[in-house]
Amino acid sequence: MNSREVCIIGVGMTKLHKKAAVPVDELGRQAVMAAVKDSGISPKEIQSIYIGEMGGLSGSICLGQRICATLGLGGVPMANVESACSSGAIAVHQAWKDVATGRTDISMGIGVQHLSGSRASGTAFAPDANDPEGIQGVTMPGIYAMRAMRYMHEFGATPEDLALVAVKNRRHAMMNPYSSFQNPITVEDVLNSKMISDPLNLLMCCPNADGGAAVIVATKEKARQLGAKLVRIAASEITSGIFTNGFRDMTTMEITYRGSKEAYHMAGLGAEDINMVECHDAFVISEFLYTEAMGFCGHGEGVEFIRKGMADYGGKVVFSPRGGLLSCGHPTGCTGTAQIVEATWHLRGEAGDRQVPDCKAALTHVTGGGVYGLDNAACTIHILTR
C-alpha cells in the first residue's frame, strides 16, 4: 500500500473513574482539550474526527457531534464508529487512514464511554440474547472462564497462576494516577474474592469504568514543525472474526494471531522488537493467551513466561504498564484510545514512575464483541515507535 508516514502529535485522557461525576460528552471534551493542548495546534486545524463509543450505551446518537459542537470543531468530516471494545482504537485507525492516504494532514480519534451511567452495576456483558449461545445465558466472563478452564486442563496452569496477572497489573496501576484502582492486592486477595465464573474470581475480571481519551495524528512534516518528540504509527491494523462452529481451539486466539502477524508485517518489526504491550486483559486468562498469540512465547508457554516475570519490568516485554483493563477499569469504547495514549507517553519518556525503560516500540491491542460463531468480533492492533 502506498501510504504516508503518520505521527502522533497530541494525546490526552481523563482519569478513568469508577463512576464519573460528569456525563459522557463532558468526558469526551476533557480528553479532546487535553490532546489539543498537548499537540500545540489550533483546534481548527483538525480536518477530520472519528469517535468510538460502544453504541447505544450512552443512549446518544451522533455522540461525536455532541462532544465536538461546543468546542467549535464542526464543519469537518465526523463519524461515529462502533465495534464493541475496539471502538476507540478503530476511531484512531480511521484518523490514521485519512492522514496516511493523503485525505487530511491532521485528524483525531476519540474513544469515550460512560458505563456507570448506562448499565446496571453487578451485571456482566453478554452475547445477544437472541443468538443460540446467548439464549443459554452465557456471559462474556463465562466464555473467558471456559477458555481458562481449557487452558488449565491442557497446560497445567493453576488458579494461583491466573492470580499473578491481576497482582502484577495492580502493582503497575499503583504508579498510574489515571487508573481506577490503585490499592495493592495479593494472590490471596484475588483467590478469596467472589467467584464469578469458575475459575475466574471477581479480581480476575476487569471492572467497569468511565472515561475519555483522544489521539491527534498528523503527517511527519507537521509533527516535525511542531517540534515534539516523534511518535510514529508503524502499524494500524483492524480485522474481523471468521465464522466457525467446528472444533476451534479456544486456547488459540485466532483473530489476535492473525492481527498481530499482519501488524508486525506492516511495521517491519517482530515480537522481539516490542518493549511494552497494552493488551485486552479483560480477564486474567487473556494475558496468557495473548503473550502466545502475539509471538512472545509459544503455544502453552504463557504459563512459564508469566511465572518467570517475563511479561513484567525486568523481563522480556512489559505487559500492561498502566495496569491494564484489570486495574484501570474497562470503559469499553474508550479503552483502545487510552492504550494508545499510554504507549505514546512511554515512547516520549513521559510515563513517570511506571516508565518502561528506553521504550522504543509499543504494541496496543483490543478485541471485542461476543457474536455467535466468532472467537471475537473485532481486533485492532497498533504498533508505535519513536
Partner: protein, 143 residues
C-alpha cells in the same frame, strides 16, 4: 411439536429448527445442516453455507451424545437466570461444537469434568421478558 407453544403454560421453543423432540416419547436430538455443494456441516441452521454460499443445506440428525470440550459454572449468569449455572461446549462426532447449559443439581455440579460424555435433553433454559418459559436443548451426563 408446535412451532410457538406446546401447551397453555406459555412455553416457547427457541428455534425449533435446531432440535427435535419426537412426539412418540423418544429422546430429543439436534439437527445439523450439511452443505450439499461443499459438504461442510453446520449447526445451527443457517440461511446459506458461509463457506460456499450454496443455499442447499440438508438436514442431518446429529448423534445424541458428545464430549465436553470445556465448561464453567457461572455464579453471575445473565439477568433472569438462576445461579449456579453450568454451561459448556460439547463436541459432536459429526464435527460441530454446541454451547449450552449443563443440567446438574448444585450438589453435583463439582462432578463436571472436561472430556465427559454428555447427552442432549430438552428443558427450560430461561424465561423471556414476557415471563414465558423458553425451551431449548440442554445437556446431562450420560449415565
Amino acid at each position: 411439536m408446535d412451532k410457538n407453544q406446546n401447551n397453555e403454560q406459555q412455553q416457547i421453543v427457541f428455534h425449533p429448527d435446531f432440535f427435535v423432540v419426537p412426539d412418540n416419547g423418544e429422546k430429543p436430538y439436534l439437527i445439523g445442516f450439511s452443505c450439499k455443494k461443499c459438504g461442510k456441516m453446520w449447526f445451527p441452521k443457517l440461511p446459506i453455507c458461509p463457506d460456499c454460499w450454496s443455499d442447499e443445506l440438508e438436514k442431518k440428525p446429529l448423534g445424541r451424545t458428545g464430549k465436553l470440550y470445556t465448561y464453567t459454572v457461572m455464579n453471575v449468569p445473565q439477568p433472569g437466570l438462576k445461579a449456579p449455572l453450568a454451561v459448556g461446549y460439547i463436541d459432536f462426532p459429526e464435527g460441530v461444537r454446541v454451547g449450552a447449559q449443563i443440567d446438574m443439581p448444585p450438589e453435583k455440579i463439582g462432578e463436571i469434568k472436561i472430556g465427559m460424555e454428555l447427552e442432549v435433553v430438552a428443558g427450560v433454559v430461561r424465561q423471556d421478558s414476557n415471563g414465558n418459559k423458553v425451551i431449548s436443548y440442554r445437556f446431562i451426563p450420560v449415565c
